[in-house]
């Protein structure tokens, strides 16, 4: 047998088959990855397609006559045929406006007034529930150039409303800030202190090990169960008002606690022991070592983890539904015990609203929320990239 025997026909065939299999397997894997990325693209594309039009809003130019009568029955300020296509929200503000500007009484002016939600949808070419004669009227106004689209300021400056055309996210955004503030105040110090204790102080005994297992499990408990905890303990036992920012903040605080602890421990553990030993060597006490050396060095990691935990808490809805933060709340809260709502809860209530124009606003609110969340996560990643030290 010669040492260099060429492959026989069968061997070659087998070889080709094996390479084909290899190619096929690689294609399967790539397809899976492409599929995952495709989902993201489709999903974002769908939300943008649904939501972008909510950032502009239809207005209609009409003649407004201010009389004593229009102060009592604001709808009489415009010609009768227009009342059904204009937003009632605008008329509601009329009496107040006449009280502050009495000189307007008896005059008339042409005014751009926010159109009703369905008219807005019709002008954007979306499904709506306008009657045929209303459609005709809107078409006629459009032909006369008496309709226009402007940037939707109501969406950012108003709270929730029963009238979709003037409903906005302001109350929910402020509620989110209140809740997240409380979440951080509560979970950041306790989380970091726990991480310091577990990494720097705790003796390695059964108690510490139980604590560790506990914290790892806490991070994987479904979020809705934190809602049950909030309901049973904070609301029923401690008597914190239902749907207040306080109860929401505490519930989310408990939920993000394990996430913060786990990431802070990882960051503290990454600081090499040589630093601690050097500090001990010059006579530092344990707390001095922690405060002067370990904490400053691990702070970027701790902050990154906390921002990610905060972003997670910001998108969380289920536990807040349980503690009652899904009620109709048109005004921003004035204090921590006032009824409040948050962005995800607002998205939830809008998405289940029956009126069609809300769907567009839901998608727009989602876009705002996603923009904030992606910014937060990107900040966390940049922070990590910039300050990460490999020892």
């Amino acid at each position: 047998m010669s040492p260099k025997q060429p492959l026989d026909r069968n061997g070659l065939k087998l070889m080709r088959r094996r390479y084909r299999k290899e190619k096929r397997f690689q294609v399967y894997c790539l397809t899976a990855l492409i599929l995952a990325c495709l989902f993201l693209v489709l999903f974002l594309g769908d939300i943008i397609a649904k939501g972008h039009s909510a950032f502009k809003q239809a207005q209609i130019k009409v003649e407004v006559t201010y009389t004593e009568r229009s102060k009592e029955i604001p709808l009489t300020a415009v010609e009768r045929e227009y009342t059904s296509i204009l937003s009632r929200g605008w008329f509601r503000t009329l009496p107040q406006r006449l009280n502050t500007h009495p000189e307007l009484l008896g005059t008339s002016e042409t005014h751009w007034i926010v159109a009703k939600g369905d008219v807005d949808q019709y002008l954007k070419g979306k499904p709506n529930s306008l009657k045929p004669e209303e459609k005709e009227l809107v078409d006629q106004l459009k032909a006369e150039n008496r309709t226009r689209f402007i940037f939707n300021t109501y969406f950012f400056l108003n709270g929730d409303s029963r009238m979709p055309e003037i409903a906005g996210i302001k109350a929910a955004a402020i509620g989110t800030i209140y809740v997240l503030f409380l979440t951080m105040i509560f979970s950041f110090p306790i989380g970091v202190l726990t991480a310091i204790y577990l990494e720097e102080y705790a003796p390695d005994n059964w108690l510490t090990r139980i604590i560790e297992v506990n914290i790892n499990n806490l991070a994987a408990i479904p979020s809705i169960l934190y809602g049950l905890l909030g309901l049973a303990i904070f609301i029923n036992t401690f008597g914190i008002p239902r749907s207040s920012a306080l109860v929401g903040g505490l519930t989310l605080g408990l939920m993000s606690l394990p996430v913060i602890i786990i990431s802070a421990r990882a960051a503290i553990r990454a600081v090499p022991d040589s630093i601690r030993e050097a500090a001990f060597g010059v006579g530092s006490s344990r707390w001095q070592v922690v405060l002067h050396h370990v904490l400053p060095l691990s702070l970027p990691g701790i902050l990154t983890g906390s921002i990610i935990a905060l972003a997670q808490a910001m998108g969380e809805t289920a536990p807040l539904l349980i503690v009652g933060m899904m009620a109709f709340i048109p005004d921003a809260p004035d204090g921590f015990t006032d009824a409040a709502t948050v962005m995800p809860a607002q998205i939830y209530t809008w998405s289940s609203a029956a009126l069609r124009p809300y769907a567009e606003r839901t998608a727009a609110a989602i876009l705002v929320l996603l923009a904030v969340l992606i910014t937060m996560n990107a900040t966390a990643v940049l922070l990590r990239k910039k300050y990460e030290r490999r020892w």
Partner: protein, 415 residues
């Protein structure tokens, strides 16, 4: 003066006093140092010593008084509480300043306090678990006093509304007895979870294999953030996507092949939940596959295998326990997922094998029972805690099993 105001007055009194204590303590130490005494610790520690020794007694007193007050053992008007605490604060300030002498081991004392503070913080973290478990168990016990456990596990009808009617005094012949058979609810939960895993496991696992074994560095750096964004999308957003976009698509697709589908079918939340879990499975599997030592791959290549043969015959069998635990973690996440099913799945418990029919899940029933207007002690409200307990037990078990398996797996390949 209510309790909130009392707290403000208490802190308003304590914080300036505590700052004063710090500066007075440090000043006394500095004066003594200037007089030529040798201090045991840095002057700042004497300040912190005075600070902590002044703050702790009144805070302790206020906690004791407040808890006795809440327990109803004694009646303490808030004014008395604030006055007592602030007096005690002033006394302890004087006492602690008196204790500051050059030989006082201020640093060790302060260290001890800090140690206790850190321990308290960890105790609070632990109390959370205990709190969750206890609060759910207590309410669940109340529920199982009303409804037998056997009926809960084996019953096939879930109609809590009848409980509401009988609670409202409408117990007539026509009012049916409330029934709490959870079987259809769990069937729906597992059906949706199963569909989700059908989507998430292949896509997640294969993309993890591609990322760790085939992808070039640039592809990995592009794909990783995309998966991370997918993982960071709030579930309520997925829910909206499922209800508004996917559900009509599924109904239309079913119609086109001659099937009838409900808008609240189980397939829609299953599919979307699967998409949600993809990044979770892929990052866990990626982690597991990467922890397999390179020598195993090289040994396999040395025998002349192709890449896919190495993956299928060497890497996957070696990684199997870890990957299975990753799947279990994915299952536990799917079981507890709430918003997608609340928005896209049905409300009506339905025991069926057909994923095109409406089904409900444990989390949907929990949300439904707790967002209504029923009284807190009604059987319907408490049923949420019974379901919550079941959910807690199942997810805890899945988590514990999979964390133990993953840890063993990683230890196996560590040197």
């Amino acid at each position: 003066m209510d309790s909130g105001n009392a707290l403000i007055y208490l802190l308003g009194g304590l914080i300036p006093l505590a700052c004063m204590a710090f500066f007075l303590g440090r000043r006394k130490a500095l004066v003594q140092e200037a007089q030529g005494h040798k201090l045991h610790s840095q002057p700042g520690f004497y300040g912190w010593f005075a600070f902590t020794w002044m703050v702790i007694p009144p805070l302790g007193l206020s906690v004791v008084l407040a808890s006795l007050h809440i327990a109803g053992l004694i009646n303490v008007p808030p004014q008395v509480l604030v006055a007592a605490c602030l007096t005690l604060a002033a006394l302890s300030l004087v006492a602690s300043l008196h204790m500051i002498q050059p030989g006082l081991r201020a640093r060790s004392r302060v260290e001890q306090v800090i140690r206790w503070m850190l321990f308290t913080a960890s105790a609070i973290s632990i109390m959370t678990t205990v709190g969750i478990v206890l609060s759910i168990i207590f309410e669940a016990i109340k529920f199982f006093n009303m409804v037998s456990l056997w009926e809960f596990i084996t019953g096939t009808t879930w109609s809590p509304d009848a409980a509401f009617l009988s609670g409202a005094g409408r117990t007539g012949e026509e009012a049916a007895k409330p029934e709490f058979g959870s079987l259809p609810i769990f069937a729906g939960t597992f059906m949706i979870t199963f569909i989700a895993m059908l989507v998430a496991i292949p896509v997640g696992l294969f993309s993890a294999i591609y990322m760790s074994e085939y992808a070039s560095k640039t592809v990995r750096e592009m794909a990783k953030p995309m998966l991370e964004i997918l993982a960071g999308i709030p579930t309520v957003v997925y829910g909206f996507f499922a209800a508004i976009t996917v559900s009509p698509l599924v109904v239309r697709a079913a119609e086109s092949i001659g099937l009838e589908a409900a808008y609240t079918n189980a397939l829609t939340p299953g599919l979307v939940m699967g998409i949600m879990i993809i990044p979770f499975i892929s990052s866990l599997s990626d982690d597991i596959i990467n922890s397999i030592p390179q020598s195993m791959r090289e040994g396999s290549y040395a025998l002349g295998t192709t890449k896919s043969e190495t993956i299928k015959r060497v890497l996957l069998p070696a990684a199997l326990p870890g990957i299975v635990s990753a799947f279990l973690l994915g299952v536990s996440r799917a079981l507890g997922e709430t918003m997608i099913v609340v928005m896209a799945a049905g409300l009506r418990p339905n025991l069926t094998w057909n994923p095109l029919e409406g089904m409900t899940t444990v989390t949907v029933r929990i949300v439904d029972a707790l967002t209504g207007d029923t009284a807190f002690d009604s059987a319907e409200t408490l049923s949420a805690f019974g379901l919550g307990l079941a959910l807690l037990l199942v997810t805890l078990m899945l988590n514990i099993v999979s964390t133990i398996v993953i840890r063993r797996f990683k230890q196996q390949y560590e040197l």
